[in-house]
C-alpha cells in the first residue's frame, strides 16, 4: 500500500453531527418547500375533512334547544337522527338503498354491454371496429347529466311543470317510472360508465396472451369452453376493478339523480346530502358526508386489494399477445348493429335531442315553421325572462368566464403543485415527509366530490382565525377544486419525476447549478409535456364537474355547470340544454386536443 500516512479523524461530537445534518437539510430548499407543502395540503385536505366530521358530533348553530345542549358541545344527536330517528328512513336508509340499487343496476348493465362491446372491439372482425373504438368512448368524455337532460327532454311528463317532453307533446304520456327515478337514472349511469368497461376490459383482452388460449384449443377445448374456463377467470381482476370503480363513481354522482330523481322524491345519498346542506342541517350533512366517505374509502380499499390480487395473474406483455380477431361469420352484421344501437342510444340520440330542443319552439313538432335559432342568437324575445338567445346572454358569458378563470387557475395551481409534489416525494431525503405528501394528496380521491365540497363548506363558511369566511368567493371554489384535483396532479407529477431519474439534475448540480437554476433550466423544461397534461386533464374534468360547484357556488360565482342547473331549476329548458351542449362541446374538444398533444389515449385518464 503506497498511500501517504492518514491521520485518523477524531470521533465526531453529537453537536457536530447535528450541525452536519442541519447543513445538509438547509442547503437545499427541497425540505423546506416540502414541509410548507405538507402544511398547505394538511390545511386544504385534512382539516376540511376533520372539520365536517367534527360537525357531525358537535351541536350546531340553532340546534341547541333541540339537542338540549350548548352550542359546540359533543352530541350524538346527529348520528341518532341520521341513523335511528323517525326521519332516518328518509334521510339515510332510503337514499342508501336507492344509491345501492342504482349503482348495482348501472354496474350490471354496463358490465354486460361494455363487456360485449369490449370484446367485439378488441378481438373480433366486426365492421367499423376502429371507428367504434373511439365513438363508443364519447359518452365518457361528456358530463353524465347531459344525458339526464336529454332524457327529460324526451320523456318528461305532466308530473312536473314547464315545457312538455316530446312524448307527452305527441300525446303519449310516459309513466312516472319511465320519466323519473330509478329506471332512467340507472340506464343513464349505465350508458355513461359503459365506455369505462370497454376501455378496461378491452385493453385487458388486447394484452391477453393468446398462447394461453391456443394451449386450451390444442387440448381440445371449444371456443365457449375457452371463454368460460380460461379467458373469463383471467379477466376477473380487471372486471372486479371496473365494478368497484364504477360503484365509487356512482356514489358521488349528483347531477343525474338531481335532475331525474327530484320530481318523484327519489333521493340518493348525494342528493340527500345536498338537501341537508340546503336546509342548513349542518350536523346531519356531516354525518351523511362521513357515511359517503366511509363507503368510498371501503370501495377504494377493496379495489386496492383486488389490484394486489390481480398481480398474481400474469397476463401482460409476452410475444404471444398478438391481437388476433375471432371471426363472427353470420353474426358480423348483428354485432355491428348492436354496437351501432348502443352508439345511437348513448351518443347520437341524446346529443341530437338536446340540439333539436334548442332550435324548436314547441317540443316534438317537426314542422319547418317550428324551427328557430332564437334560443341561441335571438334578440328582444317576447318572453318574461331570458329575452335574448343564450349566446347573447351576459349570464352565459359571465359563467363561461368564471369557468375558465376558476377551473383554469385551479388547474394551473394543481398542475404546478403536482410537479412539485412529485419532485419532493421522489427527491426528499426524509421518507416520512415524502410518504405524508404522497398520501395526503391522494386523500381527496377517496372522498366523493359532493362530500368534499360539504367539507369545504363546513370549514370555510365562517371566519376561522385569520382566514375570513370564504363562502361565496372565488377563492373557496379554486381551493376546493385544486385540492380535489391533487390526486391526479400529484400522481402525474410523481410518475414523471420517477421517469426522469436523478441523473440529469445531478449532472447540472455537478457543473455548478444551484436549486433554482436546476428547477428552471433542467427539471421544468424537461417536464414541460407532463406539466401541460397535468394542467389540461384537470381542466377538462373541472369544466364538466358539477358536484363540487353545486354546493360551493353562488349565483355570483356561477360556472357553466351550475348555471345550466339553475336554468333547469327555472325550467328554461332550451337555454339549459344549450349550455349543456356548450359544456359537452368544450369537454369533447378539450379531450381530443389533449389526446393530440400528448399522443396518448386520454379517455382512460379521465377518471372524474
Amino acid at each position: 500500500m503506497s498511500a501517504p500516512p492518514i491521520t485518523t479523524a477524531a470521533a465526531p461530537s453529537w453537536r457536530n453531527r447535528l450541525r452536519y445534518q442541519m447543513r445538509l437539510t438547509l442547503r437545499e430548499p427541497t425540505t423546506v418547500i416540502g414541509v410548507l407543502m405538507a402544511l398547505l395540503f394538511a390545511y386544504l385536505i385534512v382539516v376540511p375533512i376533520l372539520s365536517i366530521l367534527m360537525d357531525s358530533a358537535t351541536v350546531q348553530f340553532g340546534d341547541d334547544r333541540r339537542t338540549k345542549a350548548e352550542l359546540g358541545s359533543v352530541t350524538l344527536y346527529y348520528l341518532t337522527r341520521t341513523f335511528t330517528s323517525a326521519v332516518a328512513r328518509d334521510l339515510f336508509w332510503v337514499p342508501l338503498r336507492n344509491t345501492l340499487m342504482v349503482a348495482g343496476g348501472a354496474i350490471a348493465i354496463s358490465m354486460v354491454v361494455g363487456g360485449i362491446l369490449g370484446w367485439l372491439i378488441a378481438r373480433t372482425d366486426m365492421f367499423g371496429r376502429r371507428w367504434f373504438a373511439t365513438a363508443l368512448i364519447v359518452p365518457y368524455m361528456l358530463p353524465a347529466w347531459t344525458f339526464a337532460l336529454a332524457w327529460t327532454t324526451l320523456f318528461k311528463n305532466r308530473t312536473v311543470g314547464g315545457q312538455q317532453g316530446w312524448f307527452e307533446a305527441i300525446g303519449l304520456t310516459p309513466p312516472d317510472w319511465l320519466a323519473y327515478g330509478q329506471f332512467p337514472i340507472t340506464v343513464i349511469l349505465a350508458l355513461h360508465y359503459t365506455p369505462f368497461v370497454i376501455l378496461l376490459f378491452g385493453s385487458a383482452l388486447r394484452r391477453f396472451d393468446s398462447q394461453l388460449e391456443d394451449s386450451a384449443r390444442i387440448l381440445g377445448a371449444s371456443g365457449a369452453t375457452v371463454a368460460r374456463q380460461v379467458i373469463l377467470p383471467l379477466m376477473r381482476p380487471a372486471l372486479m376493478s371496473a365494478v368497484v370503480l364504477i360503484f365509487a363513481k356512482c356514489l358521488g354522482e349528483f347531477g343525474v339523480p338531481y335532475v331525474l330523481g327530484l320530481p318523484v322524491k327519489f333521493d340518493v345519498l348525494a342528493t340527500s346530502l345536498y338537501r341537508s346542506i340546503g336546509s342548513r342541517q349542518t350536523g346531519v350533512a356531516g354525518v351523511l358526508a362521513g357515511a359517503i366517505m366511509l363507503i368510498g374509502v371501503i370501495a377504494i380499499l377493496v379495489d386496492a386489494y383486488l389490484a394486489r390480487e390481480a398481480r398474481r395473474f400474469v397476463t401482460v406483455g409476452s410475444k404471444g399477445s398478438m391481437n388476433r380477431a375471432s371471426r363472427l361469420k353470420g353474426w358480423r352484421l348483428p354485432a355491428t348493429g348492436f354496437a351501432g344501437l348502443i352508439f345511437a342510444a348513448s351518443v347520437a340520440m341524446p346529443i341530437l335531442t338536446l340540439f333539436l330542443s334548442t332550435v324548436m319552439r314547441m317540443p316534438a313538432n317537426f314542422a319547418w315553421s317550428n324551427f328557430t335559432l332564437d334560443y341561441w342568437i335571438g334578440w328582444d324575445l317576447p318572453t318574461v325572462a331570458m329575452r335574448t338567445g343564450i349566446l347573447f346572454s351576459p349570464d352565459l358569458w359571465r359563467a363561461a368566464f368564471n369557468t375558465i378563470w376558476i377551473v383554469g387557475s385551479a388547474s394551473i395551481c394543481s398542475g404546478l403543485l403536482g410537479i412539485l409534489t412529485g419532485y419532493i416525494v421522489v427527491r426528499s431525503p426524509y421518507r416520512p415527509l415524502s410518504v405524508f405528501l404522497r398520501q395526503v394528496t391522494f386523500m381527496p380521491y377517496l372522498v366523493p366530490g359532493i362530500a368534499f365540497a360539504a367539507a369545504y363548506l363546513s370549514l370555510f363558511a365562517v371566519q376561522r382565525g385569520p382566514v375570513p369566511a370564504l363562502y361565496g368567493t372565488y377563492a373557496i371554489l379554486i381551493l376546493a377544486l385544486m385540492a380535489d384535483q391533487m390526486p391526479y396532479a400529484s400522481r402525474a407529477g410523481i410518475s414523471a419525476m420517477m421517469q426522469l431519474g436523478k441523473d440529469p439534475e445531478e449532472a447540472a448540480q455537478v457543473v455548478g447549478a444551484g436549486w433554482l437554476r436546476r428547477m428552471t433550466w433542467v427539471v421544468i423544461p424537461i417536464q414541460k409535456g407532463s406539466l401541460v397534461t397535468g394542467i389540461l386533464l384537470p381542466f377538462i374534468s373541472g369544466i364538466k364537474g358539477l358536484s363540487l360547484f353545486v354546493i360551493l357556488a353562488v349565483p355570483a360565482t356561477d360556472v357553466l355547470t351550475t348555471f345550466s342547473l339553475r336554468l333547469v331549476d327555472y325550467h328554461y329548458t332550451q337555454a339549459a340544454n344549450a349550455v349543456v351542449l356548450i359544456i359537452a362541446g368544450l369537454a369533447y374538444v378539450g379531450t381530443l386536443t389533449a389526446q393530440k398533444l400528448t399522443k396518448t389515449n386520454l379517455a382512460e385518464g379521465l377518471g372524474s
Binding site: M1, E506, Q509
Partner: protein, 375 residues
C-alpha cells in the same frame, strides 16, 4: 490540480443497514488516473458520488486540494455545485431538451462566462472530442458513443480540477470502448486533470489507470499500480478478481487430502518452514508451464502431473484446460500447443510465480523474499 483525501469515510443508508462503504482511507494524488475497481455492489460508485458531493457521509471526512469539503467531525458540507468537479454518468444524463451545443456550454453559461470566451472554449472541447458536427442536434439523435463524448465535453468545458467517471464505457460496444479508452488517456495527458474512474471491468482498469484501488464489500482491498495489483495481489480477493481466465487457487488447509493440495503444501512447507500460516496458493494461468513426459523441468519449480482435457484457441493465444488429480486447472500460452486431449503432462511453475495467502486470506508476509531466495 488538486488531490483528494478520504479519511475514515463511511456510508450507510439509514441506521441499521449494512455499510455501503466502511472506514475507507484513500489518497488520490494530484494528476493521478485512479480506477476504483470491484464487483457490483462493492461501494465504488457510492465512493465516487461521495467525492462529488451527491451523497453525504455517514462518518469521516473528505478533502480536496487541502480544503475540507465534507466532514462530520467538523460539521462541514460543501455542495456538489461548489466543488468544481466534473462527473460523467453511466447513463450519460444529457439534458434531453437542450442541443449538443447548449448541453456543452451549460456550465459556462451558469458561470456567466463572456460570450466570446464561452464560444472559443466550447469549440476547443467539441473539436477535441470530435462532436462539432452535431452541435445543433438533440441528444436523442445521437448514438451511444456520441452521447458519451458529449457527456465528457459538457464536463470538460468548465475545466474541472477533478473528473469523475462512473462506468462511462459500459454501454458502448467493444470497438467504441477501445476508442474511448484511448480518448480518455489522451484527455488525461492533455488536460492534466485528476481522474477518478469507476469500473467493474479489470481490463479497463488495467489499461487506463495509473493507480488502481480494488474494493470489495465497502472496504479497500488494495491500492497500487496496475502491475502491483496483478503481480502482488494483497489478498486472495484481489488475486481472484483480477485476471482472466481467473487465477488457479489451491487450498492449503492442513486437513485436505487432495493430492494436488498435499503436493503444494509439502512444497511450500519445505521452503517456508513448518510454522508458516498457509491458507491457499494461487498460480496465474500464464505462469503455469507444461512439460511433456520426457521434457526436463527446471529444478526448484513446483510440479505436478496432469492430463489435458481441452485446448481452446482464442486467436493468438490458447487456453488449456487440464485435469490435475481430479481438479480443473486452466493455463494460457501464446505458443501454439501441439497437444491432444488425454495427453499426460507435467505442470510446473517458478517459485516466484506462487501467490501464497495465509489463513486470513492475506498475502503471506515475507513470502516473496523467501520464495525468491529459494529460487
Amino acid at each position: 490540480m488538486p488531490d483528494i483525501i478520504l479519511r475514515n469515510v463511511q456510508k450507510n443508508y439509514g441506521a441499521g443497514s449494512p455499510n455501503a462503504v466502511a472506514d475507507l482511507d484513500l489518497h488520490i494524488g494530484d494528476g493521478e488516473f485512479m480506477c476504483l475497481l470491484g464487483p457490483s455492489g462493492c461501494g465504488k460508485t457510492t465512493t465516487l458520488r461521495m467525492i462529488a458531493g451527491l451523497e453525504n457521509l455517514s462518518g469521516g471526512e473528505i478533502s480536496v486540494g487541502g480544503r475540507v469539503v465534507d466532514s462530520i467531525p467538523q460539521g462541514i458540507f460543501v455542495g456538489p455545485e461548489k466543488r468544481g468537479m466534473g462527473l460523467v454518468f453511466q447513463s450519460y444524463a444529457l439534458w434531453p431538451h437542450l442541443t449538443i451545443e447548449r448541453n456543452t456550454d451549460f456550465g459556462l453559461r451558469l458561470r456567466k462566462v463572456p460570450k466570446a470566451e464561452r464560444e472559443s472554449r466550447v469549440n476547443t472541447v467539441m473539436k477535441a472530442l470530435d462532436i462539432e458536427k452535431y452541435r445543433d442536434r438533440y441528444p436523442s439523435q445521437l448514438s451511444g458513443g456520441q452521447q458519451q463524448r458529449v457527456a465528457l465535453a459538457r464536463m470538460l468545458a468548465v475545466n474541472p480540477g477533478v473528473l469523475l467517471l462512473d462506468e462511462p464505457l459500459s454501454n458502448l460496444d467493444a470497438r467504441l470502448r477501445l476508442e474511448m479508452r484511448a480518448e480518455l488517456k489522451r484527455i488525461h495527458a492533455a488536460f492534466k486533470t485528476t481522474i477518478v474512474f469507476v469500473t467493474h471491468d479489470q481490463w479497463e482498469a488495467m489499461t487506463l489507470a495509473t493507480t488502481i484501488a480494488v474494493m470489495n464489500e465497502g472496504t479497500l482491498q488494495q491500492r497500487g499500480t496496475p502491475n502491483d495489483i496483478y503481480e502482488r495481489p494483497a489478498n486472495r480477493f484481489v488475486a481472484e478478481f483480477v485476471g482472466s481466465p481467473p487465477i488457479n487457487i489451491i487450498e492449503l488447509a492442513a486437513s485436505g487430502s487432495d493430492p494436488l493440495e498435499r503436493a503444494a503444501r509439502d512444497y511450500l512447507r519445505a521452503r517456508l518452514g513448518a510454522a508458516a500460516d498457509l491458507g491457499s496458493v494461487g498460480i496465474r494461468p500464464e505462469a503455469l508451464m507444461l512439460a511433456l513426459d520426457d521434457a526436463p523441468v527446471p529444478p526448484g519449480h513446483f510440479r505436478h502431473g496432469a492430463s489435458v482435457t481441452a485446448v481452446l484457441p482464442t486467436g493468438g493465444s490458447w487456453i488449456i484446460e487440464v485435469n490435475c488429480a481430479g481438479r480443473v486447472i486452466f493455463l494460457t500460452t501464446t505458443e501454439s500447443p501441439t497437444l491432444q486431449g488425454g495427453e499426460i503432462v507435467t505442470l510446473h511453475a517458478r517459485p516466484a510465480a506462487l501467490h501464497v495467502f495465509d489463513s486470513h486470506q492475506n498475502r503471506l508476509a515475507g513470502v516473496d523474499d523467501a520464495l525468491a531466495r529459494v529460487a
